[in-house]
Symmetry: C2
Subunit: 446 residues, 2 copies
């Protein structure tokens, strides 16, 4: 009798925690992922704003799983799933591979959604990957660098206007951090511009920021952000984004085009393309965001051996956060282990235990919502720090992160501001607008 | 009377230390640099091999100089110098700028030299910039990842053969570190391959590694490297490099082509193109490596207001190391300050105070050469750590680095292994050879 083969797709919270939860099961785990690292997505904004290095929030998956002898990690992109023959087809660097499974856990996550306007992506990167964060790091710090070189007040204003689209936790955190960079970190560093004059505009279609936290915390968040100098535009939607500006439409229906060089897109998610593969190949129903509507056992209807977990699953009441992924991963792992052992699973029906939501707004200021309890300010910030440290994988990463936090919180300095020339290409690309608006070309001018 | 204007080109050890040394002089300092950071080049190999993050060895120049009110930092590429009109012409992101100077300090450094074979650069990146280090990080760790996916023993051997060209300090450090990664860090992480079987080949035309350290230390270094499992090929020159291999010719004149996916070029320097500009515009003599042969006051003959310092200057007996750059920067700054104050300079003739050379070979093992004293092993390693920590700019960077070192030295783990998709492009590019050698194409195969 051969061992039960579990294939896991993805190395985020869903994939990694599923693999770990199967450590003592009599199964062979093959984890296939596009990147070699496990990304701690909730801290990605700290990489973008120079607080943490990419290594601190993205330890190597292979290293995390090295002592788990029943697991192997393979680097590749899954392109197809064959539910009839129970095969996963995936692409390595130089060929297509086929890997059979007995149980399949699809934890491929979600990407940024531009709501049908994918051309916005070049001008307003999302916040989903290490590449996104480093690109935004280069654009944010780069905008100040470029402004220092300008003399035209309109160009300087354009470079010092940062627009964050979407006021969920990531958008709120980015807006707060960019404002803090401008008013504190970069103080005294420039000679021509005054970084503290930078405008940070947070745009969202809802009534207030952090809509899922409820009205009370949302309004509190708005006041805190405004106190920091962030312009919060509620009830406002984005109708266009290009190199030079963002066009918004407020509640009154009036459109406004705001010149802005650096834009961040933190609105909307779109399930991984593997959702569509499961729809076509296994008849899985999808929700509006392309996520798979699973049954109560987190499997694809008619396919009890295919689990969809994490951000790619659509379960009413389960938010697309780390806890949803971790809990669904552990549920799926238990069901598989139970089947292999011939015992009943601990639970047959997935239920989400809401441990609460939290978001940092600024240094020493956060909001926490736990069931009926909700609070903000320093206690919330402290709770945020503590819980995030706890969930960072690996002791060393935890110590490193703690140290970088202490430095950043104690001094407003940022230790990770380095950008590469590769990212500078992105940064200078956004500067092509300079040629148009100033009438000058890059080459052949003196 | 207007203030004396000093323009400094470059933000390495030369440029940055010159700016700092002018902090109390009655001058206006304008530092123009291509990158926003000050690179601590001696630790670049630790970024490439996952010990340190890029932020730890590349703090922002602007931040370092923020409280120096007579200095400003501008991001741009200097393209021309007009010694007659005393102007520097430089390119920003969108235009050409002209900046006048009364004194000019050219500290533009040196790049990698491929001795006329620039096509090698794509296949064997140098070790001069943050981009180089991150690219090599992706290639080194990537080679093991790709080998794990292969079944063909020849392909696996090719991916697990690392060739380092040039056995100066950087080459020796890279070779030692890659071997250590292979035998210690990556142990137990792979399921198909055994990383410890990786070959690391160090090639140099000299009789032994670290030729400038003399025969005794060189031979000691060779024994230590060989003890680690590095294959040292002395008296060997590289005749060709392509995607799939390196061709070498040993003392016997026999050529050998060694299949290798990941190559590092740590041989030869070439002065910045600004050396040639000074030759054309100011008649400055250049040496074989394109460095400017300055007079005893470190100025261009006939131009006492143009100083060339650091790696771009050619002074007999002064090696291209941080100490040479720092000492020449302080010398030039003193001469300028003296002129402005109308006092005689402390010295009119530059003399290099050799504080000694050091290189790490492996964990707990280094070599130090200080005048007639030379030693190796743990004491040398300890001295290396101490001195490098001392010279890292900034308290926070020092603490961070110390911590990362403690982690790395205590556990052989590497906390900074993250690569981006941008770098993955480079990594997969080196994999195009896979299509040829295995007869398989990337697309349309099953």
């Amino acid at each position: 009798m051969s061992t039960h083969r579990v294939v896991i797709i993805g190395s985020g919270f869903g994939g990694l925690f599923a693999a770990r939860a199967l450590a003592r099961a009599d199964v062979e785990v093959t984890l296939i992922a596009r990147t070699g690292h496990h990304l701690f997505q909730p801290l990605l904004y700290q990489v973008a704003t120079g607080i943490l290095s990419e290594g601190e929030i993205a330890p190597t998956t292979r290293e995390i799983l090295r002592s788990q002898s029943n697991a192997r990690v393979l680097l590749g992109l899954v392109e197809d799933i064959d539910p009839q023959r129970r095969l996963v087809r995936w692409r390595t660097h130089n060929r297509l591979e086929t890997t059979p499974y007995d149980s399949l856990i699809v934890a491929a996550g979600a990407g940024q959604s531009y709501f049908g306007n994918d051309r916005f992506a070049t001008f307003a990167p999302g916040m989903k990957t290490i590449d996104d964060a480093l690109e935004l790091r280069a654009r944010i710090f780069g905008a100040f660098e470029l402004a220092e070189l300008e003399t035209d007040p309109a160009r300087i204003a354009q470079l010092l206007t940062f627009i964050v689209v979407g006021a969920g936790p990531t958008g709120v955190e980015m807006a707060g951090q960019i404002r803090e960079l401008a008013s504190k970190t970069l103080r005294h560093e420039f000679r021509s511009i005054d970084p503290s004059t930078a405008r940070v505009i947070l745009v969202d279609g809802a009534d207030h920021p952090l809509p899922v936290f409820g009205e009370k915390l949302g309004e509190r968040t708005q006041r805190t952000l405004e106190g920091l100098g962030v312009e919060v535009r509620a009830n406002t939607i984005v109708t266009d984004v290009d190199e030079a500006s963002v066009t918004v439409r407020g509640a009154g229906g009036v459109e406004e085009t705001i010149p802005s060089a650096c834009k961040v897109w933190a609105a909307g998610v779109q399930g991984s393309p593997l959702g569509r593969v499961l729809a076509e190949r296994a008849g899985a129903p999808l929700d509006r965001s392309g996520r798979v509507v699973v049954d109560e056992g987190l499997t694809v209807p008619g396919h009890p051996e295919i689990f969809v977990i994490g951000d790619l699953m659509s379960v009413p009441g389960v938010p697309g956060v780390a806890q949803g992924a971790i809990q669904s991963a552990r549920f799926a792992a238990d069901v598989i282990a139970a089947r292999v052992q011939g015992r009943p699973p601990r639970r047959t029906r997935f239920s989400y235990h809401d441990k609460g939501s939290m978001a940092t707004i600024a240094r020493f200021n956060a909001v926490v919502s736990m069931g009926r309890v909700s609070f903000g300010g320093f206690p919330a910030w402290f709770a945020w720090c503590f819980l995030h440290l706890l969930y960072i994988v690996g002791f060393k990463a935890r110590i490193n992160t703690l140290l970088h936090w202490l430095i950043s919180f104690a001094s407003t300095r940022r230790s990770e501001r380095t950008t590469t020339n590769q990212q500078m290409v992105g940064r200078l690309a956004l500067e092509r607008l300079g040629a148009g608006s100033s009438g000058r070309l890059i080459a052949g001018e003196e």
